[in-house]
Amino acid sequence: MALKKDFVKFDKVDKSYDGKVLVVKDLQLDIEEGEFVTMLGPSGSGKTTCLMMLAGFETPTNGEIYLDGRAISSIPPHKRGIGMVFQNYALFPHMTVYENLAFPLRVRKIPKDEADKKIDKALSMVSLQGFASRMPGQLSGGQQQRVAVARSLVFDPQLVLMDEPLGALDKNLRESMQYEIKHIHENIGVTVVYVTHDQSEALTMSNRIAVFNDGKVQQLSSPDELYEKPVNSFVAEFIGENNTFVGEVSDISGGKCKVKIANTDILANPISVKGKGEKTKISLRPERALINPSDQMDNIHSGKIEEVIYHGDHTRVRINLLGNNQFILKVPNSSANLDIKLGKDIKIGWNSEDARALDPS
């Protein structure tokens, strides 16, 4: 069976709540069958609205959403057959775990013995066998979360939506749940659309990530591409740590450009600059800048150490470099790097390939 490329398709979807402001603007998004796609963005960026439109709790103001080739805007939520995990789990507090899981099966009139098998399977998937007769209130946050996941999968939906499902858990639990959800997804091959504002969660779990800002998808790509090759300065700053320089393009040739910053020219990789005189913002990941650089690097500058923060395996060093006193460097903890002291001047170098000249905003 060939996997459909556009299992879920947002086609020119607009959404406005008050007729004045567009929360989602001209959204174009295809999700492949069996894929784990994360919608990532700051709060108010429209990601949850998109999920709600997909689930059927909001209607698009304009455009159409297709699920498996069918337009679904006019189908009410209970007929869409989409599983959903809510932010606060939304387990029915007056029903036992078993009854919670049986709910979607009962409304589908699935015979009891078959339903029991499905419930057993779903509970073992989240390793909660033996918890069937508990009330949700008697479970810990992580267990409730697993019940919510099991409930969203128990009726074998083709698509599962998850709306910041791990937001209420503590850090350790959140991380182990991330792997658990990822493994469940890998095992049963269901399509998952996941919403979060936590970038590490998105990077860990997803096949592809759609970064939302201001009602638009800024970039839709795999986690590594998103981190390594951000297409604009919003994505560069939103994902991971980022050092920036604001300047003006003074020359552009041969896949490189010269950018003038504080009377110094630095070499950069022109991503969204086209010609001379354009304003640009250069993005450079902290781990791509090195101290004691080798001579092959085409950018070597020196700056003064303003702050040193010890992190165990590495040291974060804040440097005043080319007028930017927020330049962060991650120095691995090794015997070669023991001479980092406050107030010292050090040399820093990076390849122009890694300095991406993006839009100035």
Binding site: G56, P77, H78, F86, F92, H94, P104, V107, R151
Partner: protein, 417 residues
């Protein structure tokens, strides 16, 4: 393992428990002193008067103390034939004393409760007793009025001998102790209280049902509307609370009377003929309408407070799992509102069962409740012991309902806010 737990000592060697109590004693005393004025106030103005009032319903010492010698003499009387001379002599002695204290009127009132006809013969006895000669009181008293020669009146007196009585309660149930000492119902055409009890239950029940049916959507709207509108709606719900009960009832009188606004409107749109205006007041309808409106907030508020806590994502979850909106409501939302329903219904029912002013004003003859009867005995007949007996019966009724509710739903399931 030994079941005996070792006593833990503090560093000074005092047992930990003793030390803890000592440390907390000061706080406890402080806390008690803080509530003491209120406690005292409640005892003086609430517990004591109510206790005293309720005691009146069984207290029958008055007659016992007025005729002490008579009752002593009656102890050996079997009640079959007219009593012996010694009873008459003792009665005469008691009676003379009462006349001297000018208390014979009270006696006549009391005895008249037991049996009609005592008032006039006691009056007559007082007049005649001045010219009684010593000795043979039986003859002399019997010659005052033929009822004094009737054994039934003497039995009636004997029935008042005990210090405590249950006859007020029996009367509240339209029953009495007959001449043979058996508990029987009064004649069909004199039964008024049973009808009133049943009507009180009926009206309270239906008012609760109507309140529930109307309050549920309002409370739901209140809990789900955006703050801006829900505040306005909340004010509308609470507005009646800020208006005097009398004013609200009076406005219903203006609306519901035969020449009132509602009737005018019905005539105006041609629903009813002008000469055939329906009576919507001074009957049960009036009580239903006015009481439902007045008690509505008591249903809305507990429901609202419960609905407010139900996350909207639960309904969404119900729908996303494949339940139709109705199934999601019925299986998910409704069961979660049961604590509010229980609280609201109990509150409205208990308030309705003791309602007084509104039914008195708009209820007419067929819309009055037991509480109006209680008020009647408090103010008009001054039979306080009967009023208090009925009050206690009402109270026990409420307690029974509370107990039943606790058995069926569980009182800790109640949520008032």
């Amino acid at each position: 393992m030994s079941s005996e737990t070792k006593q833990i000592l503090t560093t000074d060697g005092i047992p930990l428990e003793v030390s803890l109590k000592k440390a907390e004693r000061k706080n406890k005393i402080k806390a008690f002193l803080l509530v003491a004025p209120l406690l005292l106030f409640l005892i003086i103005t609430y517990v004591f008067p109510i206790g005293d009032m309720l005691f009146r319903s069984v207290d029958d010492k008055m007659v016992t103390q007025m005729l002490p010698k008579t009752f002593k003499a009656m102890e050996n009387w079997d009640g079959q034939e007219l009593p012996e001379e010694e009873v008459f002599a003792a009665f005469h002695e008691d009676f003379i004393k009462l006349v001297e204290d000018k208390r014979e009127g009270k006696l006549s009132t009391q005895l008249n409760y037991t049996k009609n006809g005592f008032k006039s013969i006691i009056k007559k006895l007082r007049r005649k007793s001045k010219s009684f000669e010593e000795g043979n009181y039986k003859e002399q008293i019997m010659s005052v009025h033929k009822r004094w020669a009737d054994v039934e009146y003497w039995r009636a007196i004997k029935r008042r001998a005990p210090e405590f009585t249950s006859q007020k309660y029996l009367k509240g149930m339209d029953m009495y102790v007959n001449e043979e000492g058996k508990i029987v119902s009064v004649e069909e055409d004199r039964r008024i209280h049973r009808v009133l009890w049943l009507r009180t239950l009926e009206i309270a029940f239906f008012v609760t049902v109507f309140c529930f049916l109307m309050a549920y959507p309002i409370a739901h709207l209140l809990a789900t509307l955006p703050m801006k509108y829900s505040n306005l709606l909340m004010i509308c719900v609470l507005l009646p609370f800020w208006t005097s009960l009398l004013v609200r009832t009076a406005s219903w009188m203006i609306l519901l009377q035969q020449q009132g606004i509602v009737n005018d409107f019905f005539v105006g749109i041609g629903l009813v003929a002008d000469d055939n205006r329906p009576e919507m007041m001074y009957n049960k309808t009036g009580s239903y309408v006015a009481m439902t409106q007045i008690l509505l907030p008591f249903m809305v508020l507990p429901l609202y407070s419960v609905m407010k806590t139900i996350s909207p994502s639960l309904m969404r979850a119900g729908k996303s799992l494949g339940g139709t909106p109705f199934v999601a409501f019925w299986k998910v939302y409704f069961p979660l509102t049961i604590p509010g329903i229980g609280a609201g219904c109990l509150l409205v029912f208990i308030l309705a069962i003791g309602y007084y002013i509104t039914p008195a004003l708009v209820g007419g003859a067929s819309g009055t409740l037991i509480s109006n009867q209680i008020a009647f005995h408090m103010k008009s007949t001054l039979d306080w012991s009967f009023a208090s007996a009925m009050g206690l019966m009402l109270l026990s009724g409420v307690l029974v309902i509370y107990w039943l509710y606790n058995k069926l739903v569980g009182i800790d399931n109640i949520k008032l806010g």
